[in-house]
Symmetry: C2
Subunit: 155 residues, 2 copies
Amino acid sequence: MDDRRPGEVPLLLAMTFRAMTDHLHARLVELGREPLRPAHGYVFRYLADHPGATVVDLAARLDVTKQSASKTVTELADWGYLERRSHPTDGRAQILVLTERGREYLHLADELWAESEKQWAAVIGADRLDAVHADLRAYLDHVYGDHRINIRPVW
Amino acid sequence: MDDRRPGEVPLLLAMTFRAMTDHLHARLVELGREPLRPAHGYVFRYLADHPGATVVDLAARLDVTKQSASKTVTELADWGYLERRSHPTDGRAQILVLTERGREYLHLADELWAESEKQWAAVIGADRLDAVHADLRAYLDHVYGDHRINIRPVW
DNA sequence: TCTGACTAGTCAGCCCAGTTGACTATCTGC
DNA sequence: GCAGATAGTCAACTGGGCTGACTAGTCAGA
């Protein structure tokens, strides 16, 4: 059963993530929602967790240039998912704030990701899924220690 | 401990894969090797597992157009990792064959991916890693059933 | 056996999300 | 108050994907 080829696990991680991404995308289409890309989802999540974040903060977290982050922000702002507000103390900076629409979308996305989790749990059992969750966390904590980390996969 | 936010697991999968990809990339640089992209690795793996494959086969597996697959193949052929040979029976087609250099690179990549696995195993234990492996496989088998699947993540 | 539909692969041109580089406006430490 | 750092934007480029149009070869049927 466990004829595990050395080096196979990372590939399986990627394939699994791809499968879940496909599911999310299909569900969004099914619901008639704009299928934002995962990169957008990361923006939402980051802003929800870090109120007062700026474009530069976001760029650092996503590990892209500030120009690229700025472009994404412009796009999401045009679509009404977030707003730029003037920074209270720094005249150069703008803080990024999710709109109600943005928070609602984030909530929906979480629910749809959770569908994939439930699907997985149905196959392997909820306790095993909890174990996987803990194991992933343990690995990331070990690799990155305290300081936070790159969210976006790179190809 | 298991205050698992619903929908968090897919993100953790992506972050873990990203961490392992970063590790691979860093090791390749360290060894003075050309840091081919993961997409190239998928080509190598597919060709190693499917001798006699053509560009069209590859395109189907990677879920890209044949034009795109052809471009990647040209690149890898220019770098000496694979060769195009005339198809024995079909005058239109070419079969793709890994060179010794290509097989050597694939072997190295597997070793480097395995380093990440070992690192993970050191944190959570080998038995837990085996469990994760089995759980990933179980999910993919459930989602895709028999017919094989998309390897390449999509953004 | 010829012909029409299909298939393998390439060429050319476009698109999009990222990049680098140059710039303005503002902030901060000496 | 000035020099250097920082937030953000504009412009031009790149790379890896795409569509569309094409050539060359295959194959099935009348």
